[in-house]
């Protein structure tokens, strides 16, 4: 423990009380503190009116994504020591409407998630619960990476397309669509493809890969999008050239 402090420059906004501004707070510096610890220090002992989301503080609930010195970050995994001597600028995730202070509006994402039908689709008449569907470790590995998304929204904040095309389904939701498309137990791929390729944004994604770079769980949404685009293009030409052919 030391007497060192570090300055936070925190984005403040109250919709009922004027425009946005930045507020500075000096908080104790600890080598093993993350930005979230510093924000909680502010909330608890300096200014209880600062609003932000957090819960698990172990990088799995996905609540605490913010811009830390301009980079989309999970604040529970962003160490102050990496930003010494400061200041540390903390802002809400970009590309989202702001509800209040560091809290962004998630509703758009929740709707996009819903659109891609992120669940197993089966043609079975009835669900027979006497046994599990078999799936080998190799089959599991095909989609496992895309199932690791914690919906933290960092990829939306990093995405250059979202900034221009508001209704772009976006990296995380597309990765989840691909997660189910690749699951050997699923039979709903066609349904999902129809949704995905009606969406303009996917063709604008230029594989810059900023989404995959910021992903704290190494989900690689950019890879998922490119896979989906390739399949979509193949599908398009198949339908164009061989309208009688069934999808593989």
């Amino acid at each position: 423990m030391s007497d060192t402090t570090i300055r936070l420059e925190v984005f403040r906004y109250r919709p009922d009380n004027g425009g946005p501004s930045f507020q500075s707070y000096d908080v104790p510096y600890h080598d093993d503190w993350v930005v979230l610890d510093a924000l909680n220090y502010v909330k608890n002992y300096i200014d209880g009116s600062l609003s932000f989301r957090w819960s698990c503080r172990m990088g799995v609930c996905g609540s605490c994504g913010m811009q830390v010195n301009g980079e989309p970050s999970l604040t529970c995994a962003a160490f102050l020591r990496d930003h010494m001597p400061g200041p540390v600028r903390v802002e809400p995730l970009t590309n989202f409407p702001v509800e209040r202070d560091l809290v962004v509006d998630m509703n758009g994402f929740m709707e996009k998630l819903d659109h891609v039908k992120p669940y197993l689709v089966r043609e079975d008449e009835a669900d027979d619960l006497s046994a599990e569907y078999l799936q080998t470790p190799v089959q599991l590995d095909r989609y496992k990476q895309f199932s690791m998304c914690i919906n933290c929204m960092l990829c939306y904040a990093a995405c250059p397309v979202i900034g221009r095309v508001d209704d772009f389904i976006g990296p995380a939701a597309l990765a989840l669509a691909q997660r189910y498309n690749l699951d050997s137990r699923d039979q709903g791929k066609q349904m999902r493809q129809d949704v995905i390729f009606q969406n303009e944004g996917i063709w604008e994604c230029t594989f810059v890969g900023e989404c995959s770079e910021v992903c704290p769980k190494h989900v690689d949404p950019a890879g998922a999008i490119q896979q989906a685009k390739l399949e979509g293009a193949v599908d398009y030409y198949k339908r164009l050239l061989m309208p009688w052919a069934r999808r593989s």
Partner: protein
């Protein structure tokens, strides 16, 4: 699934923030003029079944209602978006008998002996019988269970088990289970979600629970949500302690709702300390690390558990290691207590965040660590700066799970008609005095589904009562919140009260307790209750006022903590996780009973209810290889 959103002008964010430094999008676009309504009630909304809490239990309950009766309308209220619920943090796995070397009798016996015979055996039998089907259901809903080469689900050993029976999705089981449940639930139009709504009180009329009042975070509006059945699935309350694996949302809100509605809180004195948390943060290092063969070492490099009646250690390279129900695979309460004895004897390491021992998984090798417990490696390296492949992990006991909760029967029904509870907030009880590892996730789905089914049947033909009884409660709730928000500045700070609470609980009702420590704790809690009434807020905004939510949470936490401390004070025996240094042995003659705490104007009133024994009469809990054989279940 529908998402309920507010259309109030000015109620939502007024602009999109865009300051990406690498891109030229710094403009802040103001879209709506400011102007937010004060606390107001919006019209009543009616559903058939209302579920408060959208983690594993709440989501399973919602889908069980749909399965039971697709005509019913369900309101799903949660103070966080469903995928943020704390189910997400569960790591190791989920128990159910599915392999041919296992049998229901084994799972039942492990659960009952793990509970130190305080579990209700009829409930345990139902739980064990319904567990496999529920886990297969999760599989059919897309949960990416780890697999054998054959394609069947794989199982791993866990503490306190005779036979390995823990299904797992690497070491992010809870994360995968929660996301599978949530994503699956999106297809059901019968479910209307109220994301980021905080339930502040239950509504009762004609002797039945008929809904709740809930605060919408993004607008600050109060909503009256009516239903003929309410299922509370809000999780446990580990956050009343300072050092816990629990996320910040685990504040026991649902327990406070039920307690204030006159329902008993059962077995509150039983709090599980997980033996392996990271010092400082309290982040959990899963028991799966020991199930895979990890060992615990004291500062002398000794596998000290051999000194605590947990059997003899085998060499880590012996193919029989780790042995079920032995050494590192003993039950959590006994392992955490062993740490305390080692600490007292000076055989722990001294660290910045208190004493610790070492969890060593190095002998597993990098490949196995990365396949079976990758999250352990990620967490240890991110939060302790340790790579478990080359260094032992520092660990110490940490509050992990609360066995006690809202008193329910095997259908999740409480004594208040129309009110149900399921999951960690409930106490059926299958966990008794110490929960068996990997039973908690299973409990969410088995009893979430049970509560959902029962509620779905019970609401048919019921009519909501209209009239002054409900109106009075709604008005009183409005007054309570207005009074809190209107208090002049300069009162007590939420965080200071919270610090006082957690300090008092750790000091008075930690792993070891006695009459003096508990009496002092009760007295402190009484003072804190008075101080809670003097909390004032820095934050006057109606929009996303998290300080207001924290104030409401702490109010409930102090309430339910009193139930815990008084139940612990009155239970003059030691059983499972409740260890009284002044009453060191189990006393079946007087305390083979559930404690039942009722709220009064003064101290909680503690009553007792007999434990249900079916075929497993109380016996000694024996662990180690000898106990493995002796302890086999009655057949």
């Amino acid at each position: 699934m529908h998402r309920r959103t507010s259309n109030e002008p000015g109620a939502t964010g007024g602009f999109t923030h865009a300051t990406g430094q690498s891109r030229d999008r710094r403009a802040v676009r103001l879209q709506r003029p400011p102007g937010v309504p004060k606390i107001t009630f919006v019209n009543q909304t009616r559903h058939d079944v209302l579920i408060i809490g959208a983690g594993g239990a709440g989501l399973r309950a919602a889908m069980a209602v749909v399965e039971a009766n697709p005509e019913l309308s369900i309101g799903l209220v949660s103070k966080v978006y469903p995928m943020r619920s704390h189910t997400v943090s569960a790591e190791g796995g989920m128990a159910a008998v599915i392999k041919s070397n296992d049998a229901r009798e084994h799972h039942i016996y492990d659960t009952i002996s793990g509970s130190d015979w305080l579990a209700d055996q009829d409930a345990v039998e139902m739980f064990v019988d319904e567990a496999p089907r529920e886990l297969i259901q999760l599989e059919h809903w897309g949960c990416p269970w780890s697999r054998e080469d054959s394609g069947h689900v794989a199982v791993r050993p866990f503490g306190g088990m005779q036979i390995e029976r823990t299904w797992y999705a690497a070491d992010k089981t809870g994360f995968h289970v929660l996301h599978a449940l949530f994503q699956t639930s999106l297809q059901f139009s019968q479910i209307t979600r109220y994301d980021e709504y905080f339930a502040t009180s239950l509504l009762t009329a004609d002797g039945r629970c008929q809904g709740c009042v809930a605060l919408e975070l993004r607008t600050g509006e109060l909503h009256v949500l009516r239903a003929n059945a309410v299922i509370i699935c809000t999780g446990g309350f580990g956050r009343i302690f300072p050092f816990t694996t629990n996320g910040s949302i685990k504040t026991g809100d649902g327990l406070a709702l039920a307690y204030r509605a006159g329902v008993a809180l059962k077995d509150m004195e039983f709090v599980q300390y997980h033996p392996t948390g990271l010092p400082g943060t309290g982040i959990l290092i899963t028991e799966a690390s020991r199930g895979e063969g990890g060992i615990l070492l004291n500062s002398e490099g000794r596998r000290y558990l051999q000194d605590y009646d947990l059997g003899e250690p085998l060499d880590v390279h012996d193919p029989r290691h780790p042995q079920n129900r032995t050494m590192e695979l003993g039950p959590r309460d006994r392992l955490s207590q062993a740490f305390m004895h080692e600490q007292a004897a000076g055989r722990t390491f001294d660290g910045d965040y208190g004493d610790y021992v070492q969890l060593d998984v190095r002998h597993l090798g990098e490949d196995r660590i990365d396949t079976r417990i990758p999250f352990v490696r990620e967490l240890a390296s991110n939060y302790a700066g340790i790579d478990p492949v080359v260094e032992p992990i520092p660990v110490r006991p940490v509050v992990h799970y609360t066995m006690g909760g809202i008193d329910t029967d095997v259908h999740g029904a409480t004594t208040l008609p129309g009110l149900y509870a399921a999951g960690e907030c409930a106490c059926v009880s299958i966990n008794g005095a110490n929960r068996l590892g990997s039973n908690s996730l299973t409990e969410l789905v088995v009893f979430g589904a049970r509560a959902g089914r029962h509620a779905a049947a019970a609401v048919v033909g019921q009519q909501l009562s209209d009239g002054p009884e409900i109106d009075r409660q709604v008005a009183a709730e409005n007054d309570r919140l207005s009074e809190l928000r209107g208090r002049p500045a300069g009162g007590e700070r939420v965080a200071v009260i919270r610090d006082g609470l957690t300090t008092a609980m750790e000091a008075g009702a930690g792993i070891f307790r006695d009459e003096a420590s508990l009496s002092a704790c009760c007295a402190t809690l009484r003072e804190l209750e008075e101080r809670v009434a003097r909390i004032s807020l820095d934050d006057s905004s109606p929009v996303y006022n998290t300080e207001l939510i924290s104030a409401l949470e702490i109010d409930g936490m102090v309430d339910i903590s009193q139930a815990l401390a008084h139940a612990a004070l009155d239970r003059t025996e030691s059983r499972g996780s409740h260890q009284r240094t002044d009453y060191a042995t189990r006393d079946d003659a007087n305390y083979l009973k559930h404690s039942m705490a009722y709220r009064t104007d003064g101290d909680p009133r503690i009553e007792y209810k007999d434990v249900v024994i079916t075929r497993w009469p109380p016996a000694e809990r024996v662990y180690g290889s000898s106990g493995d054989k002796d302890g086999k279940s009655a057949t």
